[in-house]
């Protein structure tokens, strides 16, 4: 059956309908005007009116217009779109977790506190760190916390003048944005011919700014899917200069159980539980971005931390040097819970299988497609590989964007495109460990067909997508004349 676009909720509304039936008031009803001042009361409430079946059908139709990991392959580089185990969803719905209030006394929440405490310990071990704060609600939130800790450390050591954060040009955009949010100025480090940190440039930057470098933010493996093999030296150089080293853990799926940022010399890192540890992406959130640290940063951790005592687990607020709070409560508990279930399922015996199969799948795609598309840096990769459509663009006028859109016609979600920025016409593919060889083969075959279409019939690629419910969108008008909400007169 062909999918069609769905009317808006507001266009389906009809006065007098309702989707809920609430109980009558069982206490004596007082006049509202006796309870609240009249100027504090609203006269109209312009919300839509729908019955329950209409609500369900509307959102079910919308769901059918959405691509998802459960419906197909989602090779988005840097996003780790792995399968989200159903057991974890069942656990997160248990009322003993879902219906727990965060201000209960600790004695009444020992189950949640045990999960939080265990995850502080488990993530620290996986990252090679000394301890973990679970509070950040997302990766970028983790970056912000990590930088605040670095700042607190320097301030506490009389090094408040350190105002620069070094960021490689291949870094995620959140890195410089988080640094700015922490009052830092970013300095970009060039990449070398191998797609790694340009060591000579790093050395120059450190010499020029010796006293002012607060730290370095690095993703490892980097956004090209390559391991920064000079990492030990990089960390040593930053440490010698008096700075600290931050690991953007977005690419931990390449490393779990096989290598640990803490062992490489990183002082602080964040995890993306919604990437590496399978908490669902939810269409853009919620996420969870715990931060692991070496003990030198422990005094500054946000409050509270969960501690284990003879009498059980409790929230510890007694941290005089703490940076304070960064979340209303204790982070994304239900995401942390899902990640806990995921890690226990693999356990110490098989956690490394995640990285092993993720790296295997990425290299399989790289090798199978290297004759159809140019690999940006063609060597053994980690969990993702980056192709460039520069040749196709130059010779046939077909851009990475067109290839991405054409893939939709084959039933695949496109890869990440135009990132990292240093690769022109980048196509960044991350298959994850939860895809079968058969799925990879069908994706490979679609990509090869597109490569051949580009040579023989570029028009079909340029006009893609053809099979989706809507075709190419006018994004320029959307930004120039923004319509950000429905209004009555649009009817």
């Amino acid at each position: 059956m062909k999918l069609t676009i769905e009317p808006l909720l507001f266009e389906l509304s009809k006065p007098g309908r309702s989707g809920v039936e609430l109980p009558a008031c069982d206490v004596p009803v007082l006049s509202i005007s006796d309870l609240l001042p009249s100027e504090g009361l609203r006269s109209t409430l312009p919300l839509p009116e729908l019955s329950e079946p209409e609500v369900i059908r509307h959102y079910t139709h919308l769901s059918q217009l959405n691509y998802s990991t459960d419906s197909g392959f989602y090779p988005l580089g840097s996003c780790t779109m792995k399968y989200n185990p159903k057991l974890n969803e069942e656990v997160a719905r248990l009322p003993g977790f879902a219906r727990v209030h965060p201000d209960l006394p600790d004695t009444a929440a020992q189950g949640t506190l045990e999960v939080l405490y265990s995850m502080q310990e488990i993530l620290a071990e996986i990252g090679g760190m000394d301890t973990v704060s679970l509070q950040p609600a997302a990766g970028a939130h983790g970056e912000l916390l990590g930088l605040m800790l670095i700042k607190a450390y320097h301030d506490d050591h009389g090094q408040g003048q350190r105002c620069l954060v070094l960021v490689p040009e291949a870094a995620h955009g959140t890195n410089p944005a988080s640094a700015a949010r922490c009052g830092y100025t970013t300095v970009t480090i060039k990449s070398d011919g191998r797609g790694r940190v340009d060591m000579a440039h790093l050395r120059t930057l450190l010499t020029e700014n010796q006293e002012n470098v607060a730290g370095l933010m690095l993703t490892n493996p980097n956004t090209l899917g390559l391991f920064e093999d000079d990492i030990a030296e990089i960390c040593a150089m930053i440490h010698t200069a008096g700075g600290l080293v931050y690991c953007d853990g977005a690419n931990m799926n390449a490393l779990v159980g096989r290598a640990r940022p803490g062992d490489m010399g990183f002082d602080v890192m964040h995890f993306n539980l919604h990437k590496t540890f399978s908490s669902p992406h939810g269409g853009g959130g919620p996420g969870s971005g715990p931060v692991g640290i070496k003990s030198i940063l422990e005094p500054y951790l946000p409050v509270p931390q969960v501690v284990k005592t003879d009498g059980g687990y409790r929230r510890d607020y007694d941290r005089p040097k703490s940076i304070g709070r960064i979340h209303g409560y204790y982070g994304s508990f239900l995401c942390i819970l899902r990640a806990y279930a995921y890690i226990l399922y693999y356990g110490r015996e098989r956690l490394a299988n995640i990285a092993e199969n993720a790296v295997l799948n990425a290299n399989y795609i790289r090798v199978q497609l290297q004759n159809s598309f140019d690999v940006a840096y063609n060597e053994l990769c980690m969990h993702e590989c980056v192709f460039t459509a520069k040749r196709q663009q130059r010779e046939r006028g077909v851009r990475a964007l067109d290839i991405a859109k054409r893939l939709m016609d084959f039933g695949f979600h496109p890869p990440t495109i135009y990132f990292p920025l240093l690769v022109p016409e980048a196509l960044m593919i991350e298959p994850t460990e939860t895809e079968s060889m058969e799925t990879l083969d069908s994706f490979i075959s679609a990509m090869r067909q597109i490569a051949s279409e580009i040579e023989t019939d570029p028009a079909i690629v340029l006009s893609a997508p053809h099979e989706t419910v809507v075709h190419k969108l006018d994004e320029a008008t959307a930004a120039r004349k923004p319509v950000l909400r429905w209004r009555e007169q649009h009817k």
Partner: protein
Amino acid sequence: MSYIPNTDTDRSEMLATIGVSSLDALFDQIPQPQQFQGLLNIPPRLDQISLMRHLTTLARKNVHADDFPCFLGAGIYDHYTPPTVAAITGRSEFYTSYTPYQPEVSQGMLQSIFEFQTLLCQLTGMDVANASMYDGATALAEAAIMASDLTGRSRIAMLSTVHPNYRAVTETYLRHINIALDIVESSDDLGDETAALLVQHPNFHGNLEDMDKLSEAAHAKGALLVVCVDPISLGILTPPGDYGADIVVGEGQALGCPMGYGGPLLGLFACKNEFMRRLPGRIVGQTTDADGKRAFVMTLRTREQDIRRERATSNICTNEALYALAASVYLATMGKQGMRQVAELCLQKSHYAAAEIGRLPGFALAFPEKPFFKEFAVTTPTDPVQINERLLARGIIGGLPLTQQRPQLGHAMLFCVTEQRTRVEIDALVAALSEEMR
């Protein structure tokens, strides 16, 4: 292994295709000293049955609102969630999708966010809303930063009646970018350098603030008015747009999202039209496709970190899309009538409870002159922490002890009564509290 489809045969075949001898060889790119050898010191694996048993056992160690009537609120609320919410948020077409960067295959999520933005505007009376933030506390902090950017002023005033956790988060955020935070008792304390007045309404104590007065005072000083709302209260309370709010934030958890020990949550963020291009976070807009069909797309993207990098309006790269969806389904299901009814039930039941508790010897309303919506502070004859222990022993989740956060009140606690609480439960609470003076 059930989550990894590759078999040993697959792996051998793939390794041969790649041209490496073993899985270990794939990691040769990591220098030996940086490779981890051996087994991590984490718990051993659990099969699915044992795992479920372990987690169910942990869940049983928690007191939860299905078993115990909950009179605890203070930012996280036990409101009724109609079954439509779980039915839709449980659809994996939504929950296993990524951020809708590719609009042609993400129209479902994009349209749901556009509808969320509209619903939030309808509820708050504001012009535009974004696709949501991490939580109410960080939304308030982001609003303070946005107000500072908009006005070019570097001081923020916050009423002392704002939730202490929100105050703490805002303080942390502002300190790192050198914006001063002044905690003020009234709008008389605003200065010419104040970028915005931050007000929670109803406030931390459950009381309504005099919004007309605060709005006038803030604007008279050239400052913006930032209001932090409880969206449920907007079923009956004046929408902030009507009293001139410039930015409205709030915690959206009450709109169909689980309490979940305080996370994930749903940060609400709306503002006036003229400030749209300074909004943090994602925004969805309407446009047309190549055939002229209505379609939705993430827009005003040049504000965001992946394009603007260090000059972005915020570092945020997430919205709580699934929880925004929950809130939309909640609001769609409740609709005009349901939202008003929920708000009225909260109002009536909390006032009944307050009157009954206020009559008990040793108990008194802490702010008897001030109107409240669904929460009220009471002074208590004994330590509220111990009162709560005794209430728990009777199967009741009591209110929030205020002794630490509001020492000036002496022994005090904050009770919350939502539409979920029955008269029988309220009477049981009152009966239990009456024991305190015996």
